[in-house]
């Protein structure tokens, strides 16, 4: 059970941040109408609003470097909670920003997962 959950978490994290860093508009495919994002304390719900928020962040290029990924089964049939920490390098900025993020993934029924819950926080020095 646990190994599979860890594999799901790592595969999701790789995919999510790859999309974020290379093709941010495609992130919309990972959210559904019931999805919720809390980004630095701001609450956003639903695919359109989440997509708008992520696409309007005040930087064009960025790179996430992931330090830790921890996953656990969440009690929903096949749900997974994933807890990530890492650094976010913004183009043109000298110092990367440290961040933590948690995802609650729910199976789509077609063999993949969507993000039901997403919370992001920068970790200030």
């Amino acid at each position: 059970m646990e190994e599979q959950v860890e594999m799901v978490g790592k595969a999701f994290v790789d995919h999510y941040y790859h999309l974020f860093d290379n093709n941010r508009t495609e992130l919309v495919s990972l959210y559904q109408p019931t999805s919720m994002l809390t980004f630095e304390g701001q609450r956003i719900q639903g695919v359109d609003d989440i997509s708008a928020k992520l696409n309007q962040l005040p930087f064009d290029q960025c790179r996430h470097v992931i330090s830790t990924v921890d996953s656990q089964p969440s009690a929903f049939a096949g749900g997974v909670v994933v807890f990530v920490s890492g650094c976010l390098q913004l183009h043109g900025e000298e110092h990367p920003l440290r961040f933590s993020q948690m995802f609650h993934l729910i199976p789509t029924g077609q063999g993949s997962y969507f993000v039901q819950n997403d919370m992001f926080r920068l970790n200030y020095g």
Binding site: T38, T68, Q72, A75, F76, S100, N117, M119, R121
Partner: protein
């Protein structure tokens, strides 16, 4: 029942219990509870409390910086995402940490911790 108020009340209760009487955390976990502490996986209330009470410090103080929460689904669960500082007695600098809890309702109207993941945030 305002979810934000529930999350804040839980966080205050959790960390004040942690800081004053770590063994008292036992009734916040159940048999199916899971803790991942700095990458180490622990399951069940007894094992979790054993881990937390055997951490290599006697006194500590958590100072919470941010608390974010969201409902996790139709079962009434709540996800709580915390960041803050952990001051250990005798240490000059506080450690920064992040932690997430997935709380599930109990029949008695409170919550227990189903999922708990803790990470220090190193520089």
């Amino acid at each position: 029942m305002d979810p934000d108020a529930v999350a804040k009340a839980f966080v205050e209760h959790y960390y004040s219990t942690f800081d004053a009487n770590r063994a008292g955390l036992a009734n916040l976990y159940q048999e199916g509870s899971m803790l991942t502490f700095e990458g180490q996986k622990i399951m069940g209330s007894q094992n979790i409390v054993a881990k937390l009470t055997s951490l290599p410090f006697q006194q500590c103080q958590h100072a919470i910086t941010t608390v974010d929460c969201q409902p996790s689904g139709p079962a009434g669960g709540m996800l709580v995402f915390v960041s803050g500082n952990l001051q250990l007695a005798g240490e000059q600098h506080a450690l920064k940490f992040s932690q997430m809890f997935h709380l599930m309702p109990t029949p008695q109207g409170s919550f227990y911790v189903l999922n708990d993941i803790f990470r220090l945030n190193y520089a």
